[in-house]
Subunit: 362 residues, 4 copies
Amino acid sequence: MRSCVLQGKAKAAGLWNLFMPKESDRGVKYGTGLSSLEYALMCEEMSKCPLSSEVFNCQALDTGNMEVLVMYGSTEEQKCQWLTPLLNGEIKSCFGMTEPKVVSSDATNIASSIRRDGDHYVVNGHKWWILQDIIQSAATHKQHSMILVPMDALGVKIIRPLSVFGYLDYPAGHAEVLFENVHVPLGNMLLGEGRGFEIVQGRLGPGRIHHCMRLIGNAERALEMMLERTQNRVAFGKKLAAQGTIQQDVAKSRIEIEQTRLLVLKAAHMMDNYGNKVAAPEIAMIKVVAPNMAQNVIDRAIQVVHCKLVPFRPTEERDLVTISSLPECLLGRLLRLADGPDEVHLRSISRLEYRKHNLAKL
Amino acid sequence: MRSCVLQGKAKAAGLWNLFMPKESDRGVKYGTGLSSLEYALMCEEMSKCPLSSEVFNCQALDTGNMEVLVMYGSTEEQKCQWLTPLLNGEIKSCFGMTEPKVVSSDATNIASSIRRDGDHYVVNGHKWWILQDIIQSAATHKQHSMILVPMDALGVKIIRPLSVFGYLDYPAGHAEVLFENVHVPLGNMLLGEGRGFEIVQGRLGPGRIHHCMRLIGNAERALEMMLERTQNRVAFGKKLAAQGTIQQDVAKSRIEIEQTRLLVLKAAHMMDNYGNKVAAPEIAMIKVVAPNMAQNVIDRAIQVVHCKLVPFRPTEERDLVTISSLPECLLGRLLRLADGPDEVHLRSISRLEYRKHNLAKL
Amino acid sequence: MRSCVLQGKAKAAGLWNLFMPKESDRGVKYGTGLSSLEYALMCEEMSKCPLSSEVFNCQALDTGNMEVLVMYGSTEEQKCQWLTPLLNGEIKSCFGMTEPKVVSSDATNIASSIRRDGDHYVVNGHKWWILQDIIQSAATHKQHSMILVPMDALGVKIIRPLSVFGYLDYPAGHAEVLFENVHVPLGNMLLGEGRGFEIVQGRLGPGRIHHCMRLIGNAERALEMMLERTQNRVAFGKKLAAQGTIQQDVAKSRIEIEQTRLLVLKAAHMMDNYGNKVAAPEIAMIKVVAPNMAQNVIDRAIQVVHCKLVPFRPTEERDLVTISSLPECLLGRLLRLADGPDEVHLRSISRLEYRKHNLAKL
Amino acid sequence: MRSCVLQGKAKAAGLWNLFMPKESDRGVKYGTGLSSLEYALMCEEMSKCPLSSEVFNCQALDTGNMEVLVMYGSTEEQKCQWLTPLLNGEIKSCFGMTEPKVVSSDATNIASSIRRDGDHYVVNGHKWWILQDIIQSAATHKQHSMILVPMDALGVKIIRPLSVFGYLDYPAGHAEVLFENVHVPLGNMLLGEGRGFEIVQGRLGPGRIHHCMRLIGNAERALEMMLERTQNRVAFGKKLAAQGTIQQDVAKSRIEIEQTRLLVLKAAHMMDNYGNKVAAPEIAMIKVVAPNMAQNVIDRAIQVVHCKLVPFRPTEERDLVTISSLPECLLGRLLRLADGPDEVHLRSISRLEYRKHNLAKL
């Protein structure tokens, strides 16, 4: 609701699709043309208010999907039908990859199928952790293929919304979805049959940066609350701020935030100047570093400012919105798991390291 | 509801007030006469079903309060009015110590007041994190005094239930309570004016053990789920159970659980044989060790079995009860803060260590 | 030198071979008949003086080798030639397993060979980290066979003593040794051809306990020095002992020592009552826990009492003995690697855990 | 010896005093005029060969002392007598601050005295951890004064060289020194009486950067050895490089090195562009981060490549030089203590953080 008015203002001020390149296409201007590095700094700023990513049409999932459509959209029809309304903030999109029955971190495990049948593809599969809100389009992935599926297509069954730590994780949200003999036109295939892996590889742009900078913003706020509260409270005859253990918590938090921000900004700089492929090690590193850092910093902060970090309010205030938003103090934990668990990214970093080492010896 | 039937069965089977000594008083049998060590093992068992502590009348807060009344109840009247119905599971009790405006870990900060006025005491104060359900009695603490306050006394105002990580932490629950010129009879004073600190010192019995063994039980279940799930899932061509990083997570978890259980059992053994005062270092140690262990073990388990550990269910199922119970995966985090933060207990352990060291040199 | 006199006194007082069973054999009394649990406590005590394990004939390597000879010595000749003088402290023994060219943690990698040739075995191989002093006997291991090799046999070539962190690790010491066509009598085979693995399995007795309790003793002493020094020194207007960060270091060290000792004592209790096989998980656990604990506790202590923990002395005092003894502060680090690295033991613990879990489900 | 020849080559090539500004003074050219950022990269490079810092006249202690003389040298005489030969690599210098009897991390504790007596100052005090080699000059600090003391002055008594972990820490080395009524001319006072603190504040230049980049270089080499060794060794049927736990060790090491280097380079950039005072938080941060990172990375590496990281050699090779150099694997540990322990720097970072926070609110 409220975000609609703000979206109008943002659009009018040219603060719209901040993550997108400047060029326009078929009369639709893409975005502001910020570099990844510049956009990263915007993301930290936006993290200070949960609403803001929607206000500037920079909300997770839609950002990645718009990029996919720009980079890999095969036809004008795909762009007209899906990209334009996304750029205008008129529809919402989601992305289906994880499946309940297998370890989806290993893409070769994926069991959903896309079968050609005359002038249609027939999609079957069972997905969850599909991010959803007012769902209108979807991309399904099967053995290196990705396809656009309208969420109102016959055979798409939203089984249930999923909760995280008991929260709906609004505004993004997650759902379990069944695809039973869903027929979609041939034109909905992205890039080409069997080329889904290429898309996944390329789809690493602002999303990763956005998440990491949002975590840095969260950690900064947690540290700020810690500084605030410890100055005004006394235990054992001394302000908390003057006690060695609190001082170590503050100092370690500052160090970890600082080191994480530098790495994220380096990753953005690498993406800008050398592309996603060269930046792959840095992108994998920040995916591990930022959520762990946020979890640690916020854990220390909870120890002294619990009431502000841990949701803590009268039940009567507990309406659907407040109950649904994932509290900041749990975001780091979620992101150590979502979008590939730490373990998978550490594995990638290691493999890249061995490759680099062997190249260096040649 | 359901627990009423089970309570009847438990009482009939003599499985009632498991933590209390055997002796009876005024026709009321106290409990089973288990040692702390024996009771500790019961606690781990009870942790396997959230309902069970209530079924056996061993639920937190009432246990500690019954002990206080047995040990420090000054008069027959106090015992008749409060202890007997608690022993019978007919009323519920709470305990008020923490105050919103000060660092309550340092008891000298407490600002509530008890003033004598003729044949009454007048209690004033602002407390929170008072555990509550159907609240009927309360003990307020001020400058080393503790007093029994009926929750329906004039001037007791329950401001709001408090939530933890967004949960009401049912069945215990927490509340913010205002005491405004609450008049209670002189006979409600526990032990004697200015002797509240003695009571707090003595009130360390089964509560601490209960919490710690419950955390061990939670950690055991988390590890079990981890073993279960990793045997049936494959990533990168290999069962998770055969992968080194998972194996290290399993092994480290087993080690930490084992070490924590041994320490809790030693603390119980010390309490049984040498009393709470001698056992003070061990009691402080388990208060730090068990919640941290549970947080670590469960954190590792979430990484592979998230769906079972992290609340994860359709919204329609989300009734007041399910939303209110604190998920096990957050209990460890809560208990690193509740009942004194880690920092306070580490401080105590250190002070006891220096004292022991200096005694050893005499 | 000096230890000879003390050895005489110890023997006279019946404090000799503390780790050995009481029964005597061929007129030679084995030992004191202490249980593993009792012996564990002796080990912590002995750790307070580096000389003491030799004084009581409880020095590493000889202890394990005496046990092997008692349990698996095939013939009276073996016992006469090797066990008796070891029991009397007249010879020293070593044990060869690790090989420079392979990962010896995985026993299947071992490359040395024992070939039968008439009435002799011919031993070939390259070993290192053989503990050595005045070497007189040796056990070589090949594909599940173990054999006694006199160190003065033709073809045994001590290439060099090895140093650890620059120290010779006196009195045990380590060496690199080549076995080139070493002929040993058939009677030197232990237990039987191809049964070496059984011996390794059984050879886990006091050695593991000894090491772990020695580490606990070291950690206790480090903590003691920390307590001592922090009481007498002031920084920023306050005694170190009164500063929160030092207090946390003290408290965490006490907790870790306590938890480790309980686990080691449980392992000893399990060995005493159920045998090495049932105690295998606990034995593996303490092998990981104790060195890591010692490394952590001593690391904290170095931070405040460096001069005493870190070798720190005028060069003129630097004779062969002092330079050769491994400083206590490095023992933990060494033992995380020696006798199987952490990784191997964590792997074993995990495998035992899965086995137990699956048995529980049957 | 050998370094003399190399020093000549380096000087001829203009690779001399790399850390010093370009300007020349009294006919003596200072240095190469590299920025701190540029010099930082040189330091990582130099760390690959222990000799190199001497070859380029960039060895610790002399670097800091030359800077002090450039910035705070009061007179031409001071510069002629001390700076010029240091710039030429003709003499060596040391710096005396730590005292055995007090916690020297808190500068207010320092007990040495400088008393004026006619046309001389009389210096008394007991110092240790004075870095030494062929000692020729010394700066003593007392209540905010610093003075130049020739090491051959009457009353300067070198009590003994000190060892670290048993090593002399060649080529720098450490000594315990007594100053008994040492008379030095008035002209030896640096900057002015009571201004020693200013000098300490300013004396943070390349030394900190040098140490941190050297540690990064060490860590890189440790990681490289780890990559090398794990590719060629097999355990449990699989190359170590393909095992998850090794991969995590590699990935975490890469991440920590990367994050540390970025922070050190940022600190250098801040020093270059905003001066030491503004860069104070970053300078304190790297002092904590780099040694801890090196200790962790090298600890992981020891676990697989011990023989190369841990000194490990035949005794016959053990001459004074090899025994004296501190092995790389212990440098990180030493530097967590030397030049202010972690605790002091964490305290500074915290204080700066609170100050920044309060300024932000104005």
